[in-house]
């Protein structure tokens, strides 16, 4: 009974062109997939793209937090990991992928993401300028605590 081992790459998608979100970043899983395959073909050739294609999937994609989780088989994952920095565009937008974490299971990735978001929230608190905003953020944070 062979076990299929996977690697899940959590990456943050940073749009390069306009820092003012005039056009909302339209993240589609199909676009990410295509661009990942194109980047791998660019770096590692046909062999690279073919090795990765079986088992390649975008398991999680969130536009508002700009995070995507890409799955790959264990083995060819190193090819994918080495070609991710060279990914320059998704669809029509120029982006930069910053990979944060590589997990062997999706649950581990989620756990990491949760910790990541919590840290972000703490820093948002520090960045607040007005008292009102601080109060609101405290409210939201307490809600999540209860939701936990």
């Amino acid at each position: 009974m062979v076990r299929f081992k996977n690697r899940y790459f959590t990456a943050e998608i940073i749009p390069l062109d306009n820092g003012h979100t005039v056009q909302p970043l339209n993240l589609k899983t199909y676009d990410i997939l295509k661009s990942v395959l194109a980047a791998t073909e660019q770096i590692h050739g046909e062999f690279g793209a073919a090795a990765i294609k079986n088992g390649l999937d975008v398991k999680y994609c969130n536009e508002s937090t700009q995070i995507a989780i890409i799955r790959c088989r264990h083995g060819p994952h190193r090819l994918l990991a080495s070609s991710l920095p060279f990914l320059s565009s998704i669809g029509k937008r120029k982006v930069q992928l910053q990979s944060m974490y590589t997990g062997a299971t999706l649950v581990k990735c989620y756990k990491f993401l949760k910790k990541f978001h919590q840290e972000k929230m703490n820093e948002a608190l520090k960045m607040c300028r007005t008292e009102e905003e601080k109060k609101k953020i405290f409210e939201i944070m307490s809600k999540t605590k209860y939701g936990l």
Binding site: H20, Y110, K111, L113, A124, T144
Partner: protein
Amino acid sequence: MTDNKYKMVGNVPSDISVVRFATVRAQEIVALTKMIENPQTTKLIFQKLPCHMRRRAMSHNPNRMPRLLREAHKSQMAKSGPALKPKRPRRKYRRRPSRLLEEYKKRSSKMSWLETHLWHAKRFHMTAKWGYRLPEKSCARGHRFCHRSVAEHCLLVDISYLCCIEIQGPQNAIIPELAPLCDPKTGPTFGASSFLNGTREGRVTIFQRNSFSRGPIGLVTFLWRHGETPDMRTLWIWCHPAFYEQFLVELNSSYGSNSDSLIEQTKIKITLNKGKLNRFRLRGPFAHSVISNLLDKEIRKVFIASQSPGFVAGVDVRDPRMILPQSRVKEHTSMPSQCETVITSRSRLWDASVRDQIAQVRTSFPDYVVNGRRSQLLVPGSELPLQPEEIPIPLLIVNASHESSDFVPGCDVIFPAGWATAFWLALIYSGGHAGGLKDVESMNFEYQICSDLCLEVDSNAGKTAAAEQKVKLMEDYFRKPPKTRTNFIKLATPFPFSIDWNRLLIDWGYQVEQGFTVLRDKKLLNTLSLNNQNLLSELTFSYPQLVAVTIRLKHGSPRDFSMICLPKMDDKFNSPINEPIHQDPGAKERKILRQQHSSQLKTLAKKRKESRSSDDKVKDFCSDAVIAIHKEKMRSLWLPPSCNLKTSYVRPVIGFVTKGDFGLSEGKGIGRGYIVIRSVPQISASLVLVRNPGTSLYMWAEIALC
């Protein structure tokens, strides 16, 4: 990730609102937490157990899992659909006596079973009637055998389904309340002196309170207790389960109308002894000798004198399981011819406490103990000597009374509940032949006895039974293909499935809004049978009444629903008279209707096909309603239309035969039926014509008022 902070600042666009940022992140956190907590696993629960804790049985038995995982495992098992049907246990396990008992209790919870049900179920075809499962006819014995049992041996019927009502109180309080329920003209009633003593059983027709012109409720038999003082008497009334409810309502209205005050004043108590007593009926010349096998030797010697019709004898007998013969007796014991002493009518059976005590003995002294002791006897099959646990069981032996001109000797045995199988086996082994409902009906037809087990034609119970029979006969008729059905319209049969007495009476000029009755007044019946023109006045013919008659044919036999007709003045006796074939106007109509219906069905089918292919589900072209309407219409076209019974046929119809067959007791065709009272003076020389349903020949017959 050294420039983490730097990069982060760069990530956030300059005009982002912190609050929006925070809310989105908060939602994310909640969603992620949910996903972490409920992981979508593809593994089954038992795969999470370590290998050394897994068991083979846990695939079908969740109790083999650790407790914490049991619920999850059960829910997963439930998802894969319903489990396999549990294996049916093997025959030996199913037939263990304790499990059999459970099974029988389950079956008998819906329908009441008689105590002798198991014995009958193995040998009889059973039916469900009046809330009971009753034996209908024997699997092995035929109709003629059962008739011979009544005529020459002894027929044994279990009639424990009759319901007993006990009324206790002062005599002059009970009788006046029961008086409005019965008509003194039909015969002696509850208070008649011959029955008050308690030495005879009486029978009386009960009606609804003070309305003797409407139909009766039914025939009941009653028994007073012997040896009591007039201020505290007990009366037992036995009535048929078909009208038991109606009778109870009448009694309650008699005794409960002035409700509590009356009961307190007069201290009348009504108890329903529905399941507490058993009753067997024996009819036939050897009935008494079969019964005497149950009795002790001394009582047997004096039994002969207590055999007058209607007499009640109370005896104490031994437990019948002790004296059961080893094999069935075919020859009958001869009885001593004469003696003087009469057995007393007093019995301990009337005491409820005695009955309960005796019912208890059945469980405290079980069958297997008795059988064990019998097997240790020196001479196999002989009587067991008196055992210490035995109690003498009180019986009431009620002899058959004169019901009609034929007298069939016999008796009824009444005994406490719980002992039916023991007594039944003892009686069967002593030479009784078991019978069912069909044999009771045949006894009523041949000899006109056992009328308390049959329903009156003008009572509600009788009408319900007739309606049920009509439905059954109609279903049988319409199940046949049209070509093989007898065409009752052409053969001029007005009522092939049930008789509409109202129609008959209307045609003879009566108004039947109140309903009709059967004439039961004894004096009037006598004068009618004498047929003396002077004594009969027009008053007797003003009420819509029917008279019970018997017709006898020399050749041939009448059937159920045959027509009794009046011959014309100049008809010679034994001349052949035929009814010509009537026109059937319905035949053309039926043909057209059939063609129309089939074309209609075809168009509906076409429309359905079209709507299916065009997927335009606007209308549903279902042909169910059309088929139902057509069926009703066709059935009504096959049934004969209602017509004037006096004028539509060659000879006027005066009545109908309710039960007609070849009478084995007389050796010729007999019919028991009813005729309109107005036609009685018009019958000359007691000769009438009879025409069977579906035939055209009029047969000559002799008529007699019974």
